[in-house]
Symmetry: C2
Subunit: 538 residues, 2 copies
């Protein structure tokens, strides 16, 4: 017996068309660089995204061609989020926090054909384009700065398209988006999402027990749209018809709180560093802002300290803890109190809310140690492995990690060490030893070590994470100089700063006679982390 | 460029496995025929559904083989809902409200191999099995009645299976369920659901702006599990971990209200007739039951009168209006107030809530008249057409309706006449003229006409719907006797009652000299409906 259901493709085109049919008057509010607010509707969004799709195809963009963005969160980035994929092209969000050389490497690796750039990011892009070639550079003019030579004004480009052009028929396995992640080795690796994976992620992320998104929400993604699809929120919000508030480049606590109040935001999403800034501003002036009752703050990217969850609760803001990665589109798990926990003591509730939660439907999690899959006892640690309907199955080739990051039976190895309790709730207890998580950005210690060890005076260098009150962690470099060689901390800092993005430069360089090693000859970083965990950073 | 996401099958097996991993202590409460309550957990459900799956395979059930159920809503039907599909077999829910001959026809047409029957339904089943052959008849013993000869006790059958047997690997396009619908011609037609369609339906139905299901809910499906998958609620509830309360055969207002109160039900779902019974009981004794604040009552199957919505509101019960069909798995649209309607006058709000709402994500609706797709102006009527991720693309062959019920461009023609407003909200203004909707059951007027016209004294007969305070509509037959022939109302009633289920027998037979006809020679039923709309039914 065969089923008799019709074939219906799970595409962004389906979500996109539906939005204008049902929610054409819903607002999209964007903060511009001068802090003024731009107001549009889903109807405007629909017309302009269609124009963009038409313009891309008229300009010769073919199915699967990559179109990059180098932009903050605003209406035009949202237009690109849909306009590029519904044209059959692949949206490639470039991370503006990376070093220009890295961005250029990634854009070249991805073979990006076109790029759309915020004018305020031109100084950065100017360095990128010195090393990467694009067929067309399209500039979104958010200020009165003149259009750089050899570029196309975004509005002119839109006007070259026709909103009434029919959208191409796509299938759910067509590629729609591309994100690069630094990962553990520091070699950027691309994940290419299908329409299907993002459509399913939008459904999964919207469920009551994940993010619980509704057309009654007003959603502000603080998480940048160049970070793992802004956690999929722009896609889901268009699907369910929620009002969007886009913060542009203004991500400090006061600017965000002002927007929360003015636009009656009901849900915001960002890394712990952001919520720390919000908390400090609220603690300082608790009466200044009148926020929506029970406003939800989704926290991900790295673990939110319990103190932040408690602190925000005092101001009536409810933290929702989530876990995910670029390789999981990104939402993997979300933490909520289960009904039977309602009677728990307050401390137990906070301890639970500080965990990373349970897997979404159609995502599976397990923890694996050398002895195999570990029991779900809330104690046994193992490396978190994941599979599911929006989980990557490989990196964009060529990558030598494809063989090592997936198990033989098809699970993705996350590099996070977790325990899983009897209710399936994960708690990240450790992480890939080599990684430093700074303000939601991953810094590869191996890359830094290799760089520092390139200095003529350096014999050995190990970089470890040191806890930091604002950034969660910052890198500290332990350096062994060659016999008789001389180099100061300032020398090494200048040496590194010339080669990597500013945020990747270690906060401290300390000198040792030797670096402790494991029996296999690898740096014993756990010992260094312990030794320097209270080191005073600059 | 190709996407790099892993292939992950959207199956009930994935939903099933996840339930026990996350919600093993969640309760399933069932009311037995003697009104006592049976209490189990998702953990029990997991073990027993695995046993059932194992037992079916051991007994020779192969992939795609049909296993039928003739059961009320209770824990064992839920076990069958999952245990049959996760074994790779096809769950075929037989409608116990049909005539035994019809049930036998459907079971034979579907080639059902096994059947699971409630002992309290044995008198009905005994008539079915006189005309339909099953390899195995498995009886669920809910009373102390002895096991009928030649049948297998459900518990014994379960015990022949091993809960630790591995579940077979399924793909999302494997068939999982089968429902027959009477439709407009009265010839039962089967829809065979895929795992994918039900997995996606579960996601769609759970969204905040459709039914908004959560693990914090306690859900009571009044809608029978032999009606369009009980609107998909059992599947979605297992997926999201909600407590289930199953009413068994006791569907009167008082019995339901008692369960609502005792089990703290937060969401119930059923046809308008059920809510009318609830409303009458509440109006009579408004203080008797203490219900959950803002309890949601999902209404579908036929349109809920605005008076019922208003009446239930007075008791603090919130009606959610939905539209769907067996062919749409069934959820197509759900009606909620949009945020901009919050300021509307109360009458306008009720008028909106009495509409059938907007399409779920990944479902598309349009209205088509002879002039093509009608504008979304809230005024122009057209036949509702639907396509989407959980919409049938054909009937189980052989059916001569496959060519007429789907458009050339792949939309399903629902037979309902609607208007669609600028926000995409549908309002059913009429329906396939020939159909009578009685207490959530469809009665085909054409079938009845054909039957009555089989009486030797009858020349012509037209059956039309007459409004009924309890059943929404009841059939009335307008009969023209042959010249000189004689037949009384009682004669005709007896003639019909011998051939169809009791609820299908017209409430009244009236005699006329002629039946008005259209220019094409078809009965002009609109005129008859108008003439008899206030006819006093028995």
């Amino acid at each position: 017996m065969r089923h008799t259901m019709m074939r219906y493709e799970l595409t962004l085109t389906s979500m996109f068309r539906r939005a204008a049919e049902h929610y054409s008057n819903t607002e999209i509010v964007s903060r511009k660089p001068d802090k003024s607010l731009d107001r549009r509707t889903f109807g405007d969004f629909d017309r302009r995204a269609r124009q963009l799709a038409s313009a891309l195809r008229k300009a010769g963009c073919k199915k699967g061609d990559r179109v990059a963005t180098l932009m903050w969160n605003h209406y035009a980035h949202l237009e690109a989020y849909f306009g590029i994929p519904i044209a059959g092209c692949v949206l490639h969000t470039l991370n503006l926090r990376l070093h220009p050389d890295e961005i250029a490497f990634i854009a070249t690796h991805a073979e990006d054909r076109f790029v759309i750039v915020d004018d305020v990011l031109w100084p950065l892009f100017d360095k990128v384009r010195a090393k990467a070639k694009f067929d067309k550079v399209i500039v979104l003019r958010l200020t009165s700065a003149p259009l750089p030579a050899g570029t196309i004004d975004y509005e002119d480009f839109l006007n070259s398209g026709d909103a009434s052009d029919p959208l191409p028929d796509l299938v759910e396995d067509d590629p729609m988006g591309l994100c690069y992640t630094s990962g553990t080795t520091g070699k950027p690796k691309g994940v290419c999402y299908s329409h299907r994976s993002i459509a399913l992620h939008s459904l999964g992320a919207s469920l009551s027990d994940t993010l619980g998104l509704s057309r009654r929400d007003t959603i502000l993604p603080v998480v940048p749209m160049f970070h793992a699809n802004a956690w999929g929120i722009p896609f889901a919000a268009i699907m369910i018809g929620a009002k969007m508030v886009m913060p542009g480049p203004h991500l400090d606590g006061e600017s965000l709180l002002e927007l929360f109040e003015k636009e009656k935001v009901t849900l915001a999403a960002g890394v712990p560093t952001i919520w720390l800034g919000i908390l400090q501003a609220l603690d300082k002036e608790p009466k200044r802002w009148s926020l929506t009752r029970d406003m939800r703050m989704v926290v991900g990217g790295s673990a939110a300290p319990e103190s932040v969850i408690r602190g925000l609760d005092k101001h009536g803001l409810r933290v929702i803890h989530a876990w995910g990665m670029t390789e999981t589109a990104p939402l993997g798990s979300v933490s909520h109190l289960a009904p039977h926990m309602d009677d728990w003591a307050e401390d137990d509730k906070y301890a639970h809310r500080a965990k990373q939660g349970i897997a979404s439907p159609f995502v599976e999690l397990r923890a694996v140690s050398d002895a195999g899959v570990v029991p779900r006892d809330g104690k046994s640690p193992g490396e978190l492995e994941v599979r599911g309907a929006w989980v990557a199955g490989s990196y964009v080739p060529p990558s030598d990690e494809n063989a090592t990051k997936w198990t033989q039976d098809g699970w993705f190895k996350t590099g996070d060490v977790v325990t899983i309790d009897g209710g399936g709730c994960i708690k990240i207890t450790d992480r890939t030893k080599d990684l430093i998580k700074s303000g939601g950005e991953w810094i590869s210690s191996i890359d830094l070590e290799n760089l520092i060890m390139g200095h003529p005076a350096v014999k050995e260098a190990a970089v470890v994470a040191v806890p930091h009150p604002k950034w969660d962690e910052r890198p500290l470099a332990v350096v062994v100089l060659k016999d008789g060689a001389i180099a100061s901390e300032a020398d090494l800092r200048a040496f590194v700063a010339a080669k990597v993005a500013k945020f990747q430069v270690p906060d401290a360089f300390v000198f040792e006679a030797t670096i402790p090693k494991t029996s296999a000859g690898k740096f014993l970083k756990s010992e260094l982390r312990e030794k320097y965990k209270a080191h005073k950073l600059g």
